[in-house]
């Protein structure tokens, strides 16, 4: 079993998956700046505590834990922000689409925290059930059930928008 994570390995994961880390952290914190800071703070914490990595799981999974933890802490501090209100939309989004996106944001913002986390980790980080379960301390079966519940909630809420 390994004791400690080599700095160069942490750097490799950082460079390979930075966009995914930031995307998940933005989704968790609800703001672009909050997400970027959470990733920065998470990796600072990971470097400082890299001797704590025990090698009983992939390094990347451990780094995901650290970053998600950092983002969740940041989220607790910044509860007043409206979810993703500071994300810039691309120019080709029409007014109607922009309205739809606002509804989607609001809907996702209303999901329970665990459902949101599972959703972000599955879709933005592309982690499988086992990795998500490890990260959140729940069984893979619970991850699947949570994801299904999130899907059902989103479908139902968005159906109501289209057919009020």
């Amino acid at each position: 079993m390994t004791e400690g994570a080599p700095l160069e390995e942490i750097e490799r994961v950082y460079r390979c998956r930075l966009a995914d880390f930031v995307r998940v952290a933005i989704a968790i914190t609800g703001t672009v700046e909050g997400g970027r800071e959470a990733v920065h703070d998470g990796f600072v914490a990971a470097i400082r505590s890299r001797h704590a990595y025990r090698g009983d799981g992939p390094l990347e999974a451990w780094l995901w834990q650290v970053v998600v933890n950092s983002a969740r802490k940041s989220r607790r501090v910044e509860r007043d922000h409206i979810w993703l209100s500071d994300v810039e939309q691309s120019d080709h989004v029409s007014n109607d689409s922009a309205d739809d996106l606002a509804v989607v944001r609001m809907t996702i913002g209303r999901l329970p925290e665990r459902q949101r986390l599972v959703l972000f980790l599955r879709y933005y980080a592309d982690l499988d059930y086992s990795a998500i379960g490890e990260l959140l301390g729940i069984r893979p079966g619970t991850v699947g059930a949570t994801l299904n519940a999130a899907h059902a909630f989103l479908h139902s809420a968005l159906q109501e928008v289209k057919h009020p």
Partner: protein, 244 residues
């Protein structure tokens, strides 16, 4: 099986498109290094202070069950009874409390008892506690202890009166991988503290924690968590003074 719903995937991609993020690895490494240096400097600054303690009483311990109370002026009360020979300077890890009633978390390595951690008070000059020889992972002497008997977190406890109330602390060393210690209280509340790196002069790969408790509430257990929040150890406290 890991299902992805294409419609949900599209929605999520639309609300938060993947962006071009600028790498900033050097700043991350710089901040990580700077933070460690700040902790070391603070420890060194505190270690130059001298305490004038008069009387002290020992509470929790590893191999030592108790250190008799002694009246010692202008020195460390716990060094004057001859039971402990310091192998390192006595370092102040952190301090708190009011100016005239400051408390200090102190640590040193003793011969032959290994790591010693204590809380002492400037104010009451009547009580404090020192715990030695806790079998912590990475502590001096840990190599001679069976791995199953090594702990991530150690436990000491002390109370002493201040002008306003009785202050009660739980404190101890932790293994290097512990980022946070949480105290689960008998009333269901949880108090927590970030661990503090060992002062440089101790040359230890250990960390320390101290948590001030509310009056009359006991600790039920201690949780040692790593930086990711993973519980490394849940240490039950069966009474107010317990050896790991």
């Amino acid at each position: 099986m890991t299902e992805r719903d294409p419609r949900v995937a599209t929605l999520l991609n639309n609300v938060l498109p993947i962006g071009d993020e600028r790498e900033d690895w050097q700043r991350i490494v710089g901040d990580a290094t700077r933070h460690s240096e700040q902790l070391r400097r603070r420890s060194l600054r505190w270690s130059t202070r001298r305490l004038g303690l008069v009387l002290a009483v020992t509470a929790a311990v590893g191999v030592l069950s108790a250190i008799p109370a002694l009246a010692v002026e202008n020195g460390w009360w716990f060094l004057d009874n001859g039971q402990l020979t310091p192998a390192t300077p006595v370092a102040i890890v952190t301090s708190g409390g009011a100016v005239d009633e400051a408390w200090h978390l102190v640590a040193f390595v003793s011969d032959p008892h290994g790591i010693c951690v204590g809380v002492t008070s400037d104010g009451s000059k009547t009580q404090g506690a020192l715990a030695c020889g806790m079998p912590i992972r990475g502590a001096p002497g840990a190599a001679s202890v069976a791995p199953a008997k090594l702990h991530w977190v150690g436990y000491g406890r002390t109370s002493f009166p201040t002008s306003r109330a009785v202050s009660t602390f739980v404190f101890g060393p932790t293994a290097d991988g512990v980022a946070r210690v949480e105290a689960e209280l008998a009333n269901g509340d949880i108090l927590s503290a970030e661990t503090i790196a060992a002062p440089l002069e101790l040359k230890l790969s250990l960390r320390f924690y101290v948590i001030e408790l509310p009056p009359t509430v006991e600790v039920r257990s201690l949780l040692a968590r790593d930086v990711a929040g993973t519980i490394l150890e849940r240490f039950p406290i069966r009474n107010s003074v317990r050896t790991p």
